[in-house]
Symmetry: C2
Subunit: 300 residues, 2 copies
DNA sequence: GACTCGCGATTAGGTTTCCTGATAGATAAG
DNA sequence: CTTATCTATCAGGAAACCTAATCGCGAGTC
């Protein structure tokens, strides 16, 4: 026989522990902070043990709270998945995918009609956001992320690897000054991508690796990779692009690779989702499609 | 943002769906059947879809209910595991294991002191029961079962395989009549084990396989394997024993194998537990110990 | 066929749980 | 010093929840 404390108190704990703030938990659950405070007192009384340390400078979880929190999260995730299975088994339903804006515009959106074709009853809601999202906060089913992988408490499956290539508009190659080899880059405008804070190849790194002695910090900068690519398409200069993002423009000959000098990265694209989401058939279909699509694009 | 229906309604649904009976669910949750009925109405209203078919001849789940039920079960299991982690991180705690009476007395109990030695702060509660148990109903953490494996919605890990051997008290071999080869069994009392309903080797099957023409149905019968073995130890006749159960008596020379004629079975011993239970360190320790212990006993 | 039993549905009314709104204390920033 | 932010606490009220009683239905039983 399971003996559980009041379920609302557990839900309040899950939110409070996640935010490490009673106020934000109250906000999430659409109640007042006082309600959360009381629920926590009730829960701690029921347990006979404290879950939070109320330091003057902020809230933190006790060891017990720390240990229990992931299970609470997972438990409520499961319940939510179950509830979604209960209602409206037929009819249109929606998969929400969180993805970086550049990847959305350059990779995902161009392929999305293929998914629509295969699953006409499913609507995809693309949630483009630079920031990592919180699956419990936002109503996100699955995320695509570029990085080292290994996201805690979530399932991450590798979609494809990535390489960095220089790209520019076709006209630049035989322009004046011409662009035939890496050292010609000294005479070109370099377009910079500031969106990868995590030290994915920069021009400075690339030039050093290619043995070109040149200040790699000059030139326009953008905080989104798609803007970088569009600047390159417009002939504004030479950009360092993630191949997956540039591939559509390359195939359409709006961009070319002036010299073949690929730089593989340790980072890769990952599908990331909470374990419980895999139970939803619409989410499972989307993930499966994503992986197949990535397989085609990047047979490794 | 997760949007969940009233949590108590979900818990009521989980219990009602599991028992396929509002009354028994009410019993489990210590409320009246009317309460369950109302909770189900509330939940179905909230969803806008029915979860149960109220046939005159009994309750059954709709497709939606069927799909959601396992997730509810798993979700509440997780919450329960989390709650157990919250309270009393130190101090003695208990692991409850459900096991067949014979296996308990002949295999588990003789080894249990080794576990106690290794984990002095853990108490093991042996719940011996002929019937399969319901992990949600009874407060059982882990079960050991003899069978084909593959229990739905639960994790099952193979402990060891099993073979069937004839056994008897040492005195019978050179007694009068003597017991030197299978055909001598015609002159012996055969002790029968009725505990295995699922067609694990019977004397009739065994004699046919061994080419002995003899009516294999005569002799005393017991509904527990441990009683069968004890009758054999007492010299009442020859028994067909599962090796794992007889091994302690064989090593102590209270029993012998009159002729080497092992019959392997497709069945094996399994540790079975709900996924969420593995989160509890005491349960994880016990399972780990069980597997190590089985490895020693049956290096496969 | 009448009777009983078991089971679920339903309703009114009461109890418990839960939340609000106001207030207080404590901390950090302006 | 003032303001903003955060948690704790309390009383009162709203909402959720449960009980108790009753009804309807079908399956056995005699």
């Amino acid at each position: 026989m399971r003996k559980l404390p009041p379920l609302n108190a557990l839900r309040a704990f899950e939110a409070a522990g996640r935010h490490l703030s009673f106020s934000r938990a109250a906000d999430e659950l659409a109640v007042t902070p006082g309600a959360i405070s009381q629920q926590m007192r009730i829960l701690e009384d029921w347990l006979g043990a404290p879950l939070f340390r109320r330091d003057p400078k902020g809230l933190s979880l006790t060891e017990a709270g720390q240990a229990a929190l992931p299970h609470m999260r997972e438990g409520f995730d499961r319940l939510a998945a179950g509830v979604r299975l209960m209602k409206a088994s037929d009819g249109p339903c929606r998969v929400t995918v969180s993805v970086a804006p550049s990847f959305a515009s350059k990779w995902l959106v161009p392929r999305l009609d293929r998914f629509q074709e295969k699953h006409p009853q499913l609507d995809v809601y693309v949630h483009a956001d630079m920031n990592l999202i919180d699956f419990a906060d936002d109503d996100v089913d699955v995320a695509i992320r570029f990085g080292p992988g290994g996201y805690d408490g979530l399932i991450s499956e590798r979609l494809m690897s990535e390489t960095i290539v220089p790209v520019c508009a076709p006209g630049l190659i035989n322009g004046d000054p011409p662009l035939k080899e890496p050292s010609d880059l000294k005479n070109q405008t370099l377009i910079h991508d500031d969106s990868n804070r995590d030290g994915v190849a920069t021009w400075a790194m690339w030039l050093r690796a290619a043995g070109v002695d040149c200040d790699g910090n000059r030139g326009p900068r953008f905080n989104q990779s798609s803007l970088v690519l569009e600047a390159a398409v417009a002939g504004k200069g030479v950009a360092l692009a993630r191949y997956a993002l540039a591939v559509a423009d390359l195939e359409a000959a709006r961009l070319v690779i002036p010299f073949n000098y690929e730089t593989p990265t340790d980072f890769a694209y990952w599908v990331v989702y909470p374990e419980a989401k895999a139970a939803l058939p619409e989410v499972a279909s989307f993930i499966e499609w994503l992986k197949a699509e990535a397989q085609d694009a990047d047979p490794k």
